[in-house]
Amino acid sequence: MSVPHRSAGDLPVTGDTIAIRCLLNGVETELEVDPGERLLDTLRYGLGLTGTKEGCAEGECGACTVLLDGLPVNSCLVLTFQVADRRVETVESLDEALLAPFLAGGATQCGACTPGVVMTATWLLANRDLLSSHRIRELMAGNLCRCTGYDGIVQSIERALGADERGDTE
């Protein structure tokens, strides 16, 4: 998913910053940001939403995945002004019931990739028709995990798709 490049020209500029509004985790949010500021930094440092992690800062690992208008994006590659008038969802917004399958199985070890994995999985669960043409492993290929070998992640998503929240743990 590519983010259309928005021209900063049609946004209000005050001094060195740009004023934007967006729907962040369901809340209308006004921000004044530096034109070069990454969404990842706005979330983590500006707003204290540290659930979104920095793993590589070059769009490869997916640890910083957030949903932009419902689609997963690497927030390290999005400039904050680009989310003007759009909907942004981070891991902090998720319904914990949805996370249950991730707690039950072997989807998490060190946890650095987990928030990103959970965001992509959220998108997958909300768009189940994708599974008619893609395998879970294809849809999750943008989130690198170094601990699990991926079986635990894939199985957790399968459990979530089956809505069996009991999982295989006690």
Partner: protein
């Protein structure tokens, strides 16, 4: 809340023990169950705190200037322009921390920031602290460093040839400063046994070098308090060693340094020694009086490295006609990169950890670790022993082929059982035979090995690994692991232990041990770990030591408390203490039961405040030989593994598709099978990745020599979910008397067989031996072409 109200609530929420008294003891046990991680909820919701999530008031951002040259003398550094930039608060160089450091006390050859020389592209030269990252980066561009370029040494063979400009000055005159360590050990008369062997196989093997790439980059934050305390939060896996080295280099009292390890987002050995950023944030915080943070870029991880050593290895193996191993002769050249790191140990491990699980009559190895002008190598999951295991297990496959013996059968014939390895390590539990049985059965080996269509193949390999090192890095007689446990009248249990939770699940393991011993639900347990101010000393998460060592310490502390609680319950209920059980939130005494908080209240009333400490120290008698070096590689308990890998080789492209790996691992008692399986799958994954995808490599030539070939995750090629085979974990439990409840390690052993099992499967698939890693399509394709060319004259004559 009134105590009775609290008890009523707990009685309502605690699981009904039902006819608990009628249950067998193991039904009440928390161990052996697939229990969820205690940190799983925090990690899945993003609420876990990692080092980079810490923001302190007034915090500055630090950056490190790195050398663009692989080998050069630092003539002068001018920081005045950088210091003049508004917002720059401090600039430091090697002159500010002149004391050399190193994780191994005998090989301190590194400076926090390069002192006189730089030895690889990426060596740290200076550091700045500024009000924000942009200003810090700008300051780096204004530091002027004058270098005198020296000729770089990239190949280990070059480094062996002593000449001018050694990478490090020799410690003794006449020695080659490029050699970190040379080890030569022989057990029995190898030459005689080799000469008397019915059959020998020889081979040259090469391991290429790989790095850890945890998803969380290294990060450190430091603050100097007004009362002089230096606090450092770091993504380290060795808080204790870091605390000591910080104090040494910064000339502080160890008691004035606090190291806190927040959640660590993966380490795999890559965070098991002090790094430049930890010293830099500490000194910058001391200089500026403000907190300072440094977060490595992804590129910096590839340069700071400390990953698996490239190794040139040759093995000659002699055996009897029925496949019994009589002699193993190995020669290894380790490419260490620019600094020693753990290299002294790596040199020993490359030979010492190879013998079990086999009964080998004689053994000799000669290992030399040299310096080169490349990112320093160090310990990576399966430290020092993954490379030789590859060469040796492929050698065994060749031996089986030569003798016409099934490769699994050959390994069975050489099974050592219990007792001593040829290099005198004591093995008290050994489930290797069961591992072989499991992978043989699960892979349908008997019907499929050697019988699959061309292009498809199966391969087997075995291995052994340590559950912690028998001796600490700096010699001392104090405990190697310790814990403190507090319980109180609410039912709450707090476990304070020094182990580093790096994703492997040590906090969860310690919590469930507390549940097991004290009968509380896991929700009542708080785990405080790896904070040198709050927790007793532990040496860190390396060499797979935490479950065995810290687990024993936690168990000891909990047992002392459990004894007191049961005694108080016995007094109150009039039954014998031996009849009191603490389980699942209840104290069960004869026919009576009470919420666990009532039991703790009784004990607190009788004994006063309830706390206990526990510790573990390794056995020293009869564990290893008394020859020089005999302690290195010794462990209280050894784990065993066998893999079968299934591959599909595309002969047109050379692409090796690893389809499935069956992983059977003897971890002793599996305290939590879900965590054990996670370690088994993750280990096998990492070995698979090293076999077919990853390669840590620097460029050669001028001017790009020393630059990393692919310092990003995708170019270095760590596997995605699409690349991975299916992993089938098969747990084997050969309990060890040294382990808590019999438990041994699971985090590193299951990596080893991946590489040789894949190599052996390629041979089964296409009849080609590829003894150099990694098995990239071009290497495999060339090997297939060469095999065809070799076969051509025969087919013409035939």
């Amino acid at each position: 809340m009134h105590p009775e109200e609290l008890l009523r609530k707990q009685a309502e929420t605690a699981p009904d023990p039902g006819a608990a008294e009628a249950l067998a003891p193991h039904d009440l046990s928390r161990l052996g169950r697939r229990s969820r991680r205690v940190d799983g909820h925090r990690k899945s919701t993003g609420s876990e705190i990692y080092t980079d999530d810490i923001v302190l008031p007034g915090m500055l951002h630090g950056k490190i200037l790195r050398s663009p040259h692989p080998h050069a003398r630092i003539v002068a550094i001018d920081t005045s322009d950088a210091e003049a930039i508004p917002g720059v608060q401090s600039v430091i160089t090697g002159r500010d921390m002149p004391l050399a450091y190193g994780i191994i006390p005998w090989t301190r050859d590194e400076h926090a920031l390069a002192f006189d020389k730089v030895r690889f592209v990426g060596d740290a030269v200076a550091a700045v602290a500024a009000v924000d990252e942009d200003t810090a980066n700008e300051a780096l561009t204004r530091i002027r460093v004058e270098y005198e370029i020296l000729p770089p040494l990239f190949e280990p063979e070059e480094a062996l040839e002593a000449s001018g400009n050694p990478i490090h000055e020799a410690k003794k005159e006449g020695r080659n400063g490029n050699i970190t360590k040379h080890v030569h050990l022989e057990f029995g008369d190898v030459d005689e046994a080799m000469a008397g062997s019915d059959v020998t196989v020889e081979g040259e093997y090469y391991f290429h070098g790989t790095t850890h790439t945890p998803i969380e980059p290294h990060c450190a934050v430091a603050r100097r308090n007004v009362n002089g305390l230096l606090e450092v939060w770091s993504s380290t896996q060795v808080p204790h060693y870091l605390q000591r080295e910080l104090a040494r280099v910064l000339d502080l009292d160890v008691a004035e340094v606090r190291v806190v390890q927040p959640a660590v987002g993966g380490a795999f050995g890559g965070k098991s020694e002090p790094f430049d950023l930890e010293f830099a944030v500490a000194l910058l915080a001391m200089r500026t009086g403000r907190p300072v943070k440094i977060l490595y870029t992804r590129e910096e991880l590839f340069y700071s490295h400390r990953g698996r050593h490239p190794m040139d290895m040759s093995y000659r193996v002699g055996a009897t006609a029925d496949g019994r191993i009589r002699a193993v002769d190995g020669k290894l050249l380790l490419d260490g990169g620019a600094y020693a790191s753990f290299g002294l140990v790596t040199a020993y491990y490359s030979g010492q950890l190879l013998m079990a699980p086999y009964d080998v009559e004689t053994y000799r190895f000669d290992a030399t670790r040299v310096y080169t002008n490349k990112p320093p190598c160090g310990p990576k999951r399966g430290h020092g022993s993954v490379q030789p295991r590859f060469g040796f297990e492929v050698s065994l496959d060749k031996l089986a082929e030569k003798l016409g013996i099934d490769p699994i059968e050959l390994r069975r014939r050489n099974f050592m059982g219990l007792g001593r390895t040829v290099n005198e390590f004591r093995v008290q539990s050994n489930g290797f035979m069961e591992c072989l049985d499991k992978v043989e059965h699960a892979s349908d080996w008997k019907n499929r090995y050697g019988r699959l269509p061309r292009g498809h193949g199966l391969g087997v390999a075995g291995s052994c690994y340590i559950s912690g090192t028998n001796y600490p890095i700096y010699p001392n007689d104090m405990p190697q692991a310790s814990a403190q446990v507090q319980i109180e009248r609410s039912g709450r249990v707090t476990v304070l232990h020094g182990a580093s939770e790096i994703g492997q699940g040590s906090d969860s393991t310690m919590a469930y041990i507390a549940c097991e011993e004290l009968g509380v639900p896991v929700e009542y347990v708080r785990v405080v770990s790896a904070d040198t101010d709050l927790t007793p000393v532990d040496l860190g998460a390396y060499s797979s030591r935490e479950t065995l060592m810290v687990g024993n310490a936690v168990m000891m502390a909990c047992r002392e408390l459990g004894t007191k609680v049961r005694a108080s319950v016995a007094t109150a209920t009039g039954v014998g203490a031996e009849q009191v059980r603490l389980a699942n939130g209840w104290a069960l005494a004869g026919g009576e039961r009470m919420p666990i908080a009532r039991a703790f209240m009784l004990a607190e009333a009788e004994h006063g405040t309830l706390g206990a400490v526990g510790h573990y120290n390794t056995p020293k008698e009869g564990v290893h030989g008394d020859y020089r070096g005999g302690t290195i590689g010794a462990s209280p308990a050894y784990s065993f593994t066998a893999h079968v890998a299934e591959v599909e080789v595309d002969e047109h492209t050379g692409f090796v598709n690893v389809r499935k790996i069956w992983v059977a691992h003897d971890c002793g008692r599996a305290l939590n099978p879900m965590l054990v399986e996670g370690q088994m799958e993750g280990s096998a994954y990492m070995g698979f990745a090293e076999a077919v995808m990853e390669h840590q490599r620097v460029k050669r030539g001028t001017p790009e020599g020393g630059l990393h070939d692919a310092p990003s995750l995708l170019d270095y090629r760590i596997p995605t979910s699409l690349d991975c085979p299916e992993f089938i974990p098969l747990i084997v439990e050969a309990n060890d008397p040294e382990g808590p409840y019999g438990a041994k390690e699971a985090g590193e052993g299951p990596l080893h067989p991946s590489l040789p099992a894949i190599a052996n499967a390629i041979f089964d698939a296409v009849g080609v031996r590829i003894d150099r890693l990694p098995f990239t399509p071009d290497r495999v394709w060339r090997a297939l072409q060469a095999a065809r060319a070799d076969a051509a004259p025969e087919s013409e004559s035939g």
